[in-house]
Amino acid sequence: MNIFVLVKRIPDTESKIRINHETGTIVEEGLTFVLNPYDEYAVEEALRLREAGGGKVTVLSVGAEESRIILKKCLAMGADEAFLLKDNTPETYDGLRMAKIIVRALEKKFSDYSILLFGKQSMGTDNAQVPSMVAELLGLPQVNVVTKLEIEGTKGTAHREIEGALEKVSFSLPAVISAQKGLNEPRYETLKGIMMAKKKEIPILSFEDLDLKEEDITPLLEVAKMESPPPRQAGKIIEEEPEKAAKKMVEFLHNEAKVI
């Protein structure tokens, strides 16, 4: 099976976010970047599929040169090959742009995929668009927010999380799957894995290699403004006997929040 995983580099969730108000972008300096946690579940699932049924795991990321670090991590976890498709455009919030780029890469370079694994969303921008859009552009079935995946031959079933329940979905390959927490426990890189990854090349692809022109992928959304959240007004904090505290809390719920 030819398993493809799409991975993205995101700022660590602990990061202090600073805004460049002039450009309407996040200041990248001083941020630590990591592999999107949902993509880590996708990589782990890919490795498990390979272990169960054989095949090859290829990882692709679209982004800046620095994305090599997360690709190295994927290789150290056990991926067979990793490619970087260079794109220096700052975040556009336009999932369709990214989906078009990924689709072009798949069609031009990796058209023999049997399954495409994604994270359910890029943490931080929380778009949750790219997997469904790729599925549409390639005419494939999609199952998003997956917590259980079973593949047999060219058929699959998956559980996808919805409000208060799970949907059981059946599909045939090739298909787009996006991973939710709970799908698996990602493994740690082993020392051996890290050493092997060090030796592996990460080929770099460019838009020219894919015959992709800027006008094919101009963003369809425009950032008009980026702001910090309004500061929350300081609340009332009390330190009293439990009985009194409970009374005051219920008074607050009743009189101010008016929920009871």
């Binding site: 369709l96 929380d126 927010v145 959304l221 609340g235 330190e239 809390m249 607050f252 929040a257 929920v259």
Partner: protein
């Protein structure tokens, strides 16, 4: 015209899509246009009448027996035919599980940009702009659209539900032709572990516990409170979920769910940034924590410094008093 997708799950109209309709109607009024709704499925006509009071001028019912089970491929095909036909300027969805799955597929079919999980919509210069939180609410971005129709999903529980009024609109039935091989990955079955609980993303009140709860049995204390509060659900921090005290479905935060209830109560939760990411858009936040320095108090509207195990029993009594009044 603004078109709003109305979601039906297990025979019921989802409240969050009526919120989207209410918001769509407000913007349609600003833009001097009409708000129309669309239901997709099989045998939906009676449900269309539940939608009319929320201000839809027309409710389209797009039907085909192949659409009795949800699939993004099938539903987006059905919506695509309607959009081609009626040419809306704006299409809105709730950012529910179905909305998040379906809207991007339709946007790709239409070749247009989509803004996800918006918390505000603005009519400006005759067009719609949207605002959405990014980076766990550490920033807000205002987006403009350069493609048409404009498409956005709206975060549940954020937009006020309009007052149901007179049913003035009309219901329009549309049969669509969908080749069977277009129905890819249908959801054949819905699996539920327990009795249908209210999901944290849909509850008006979320009562959450963290590591301070000390064990899984103690979550019964929170379930007791939930049974006394209308329209409420139990939430949890990741520490509580990772300890195995409660299922991941209940986790609030960056790797869990994003909730915006009217009231969020945090028991024994320190208020890590990844937790705040999931709940800081709640209308009111109440916290009980024995550490007066806990970060949760920085976002709380009302905080009690104290031992949750001592406070909860009194809280139960007080709530009982008020609910029996």
């Amino acid at each position: 015209m603004i078109l709003i997708f109305i979601e039906v799950r297990e025979g019921k109209v989802k409240k969050s899509s009526l919120e989207a309709l209410s918001e769509g109607k407000r913007r349609a009024d600003d833009l001097n246009t009409e708000a129309n709704a669309v239901l997709v499925g099989h045998n939906m006509e009676s449900l269309a009448h539940e939608v009319l009071p929320y201000g839809a001028s027309k409710v389209y019912v797009v039907e085909n027996s192949l659409l009795s089970h949800y699939s993004a491929a099938g539903f987006s095909q059905a919506l695509f035919s309607l959009v081609e036909d009626i040419k809306p300027e704006v299409i809105l969805f709730s950012a529910s599980s179905m909305g998040k799955d379906l809207a991007p597929r339709l946007a790709a079919k239409l070749g247009v940009g989509l803004a996800s999980d918006c918390t505000r919509t603005i009519a400006k210069d005759g067009k719609l702009e949207v605002v959405r939180p990014i980076f766990a609410g550490k920033a807000f971005v205002t987006l403009r659209f350069k493609s048409s129709p404009i498409m956005a999903t709206l975060r549940p529980n954020v937009f006020p539900l309009g007052e149901p009024g007179e049913k003035k609109g009309e219901v329009i039935r549309k049969e669509v032709v969908i080749p069977e091989d277009q129905i890819k990955a249908p959801a054949l079955e819905i699996l539920r572990e327990k009795e249908a609980e209210i999901d944290v993303t849909e509850a008006k009140i979320v009562v959450s516990g963290g590591r301070g709860m000390k064990g899984s049995d103690n979550f019964d204390l929170l379930r007791d409170l939930v049974s006394l509060l209308p329209n409420s659900a139990v939430g949890a921090s990741r520490s509580a979920v990772d300890a195995g005290w409660i299922d991941h479905q209940h986790q609030v935060g960056q790797t869990g769910k994003t909730v915006s209830p009217d009231l969020y109560i945090a028991f024994g939760i320190s208020g890590a940034i990844q937790h705040l990411a999931g709940m800081s858009s709640s209308k009111f936040i109440v916290a009980v924590n024995k550490d007066s320095e806990a970060s949760i108090f920085k976002v709380a509207d009302f905080g009690v410094v104290g031992d949750l195990f001592q406070v909860i029993p009194y809280l139960k009594e007080e709530l009982k008093k008020i609910t029996s009044e």
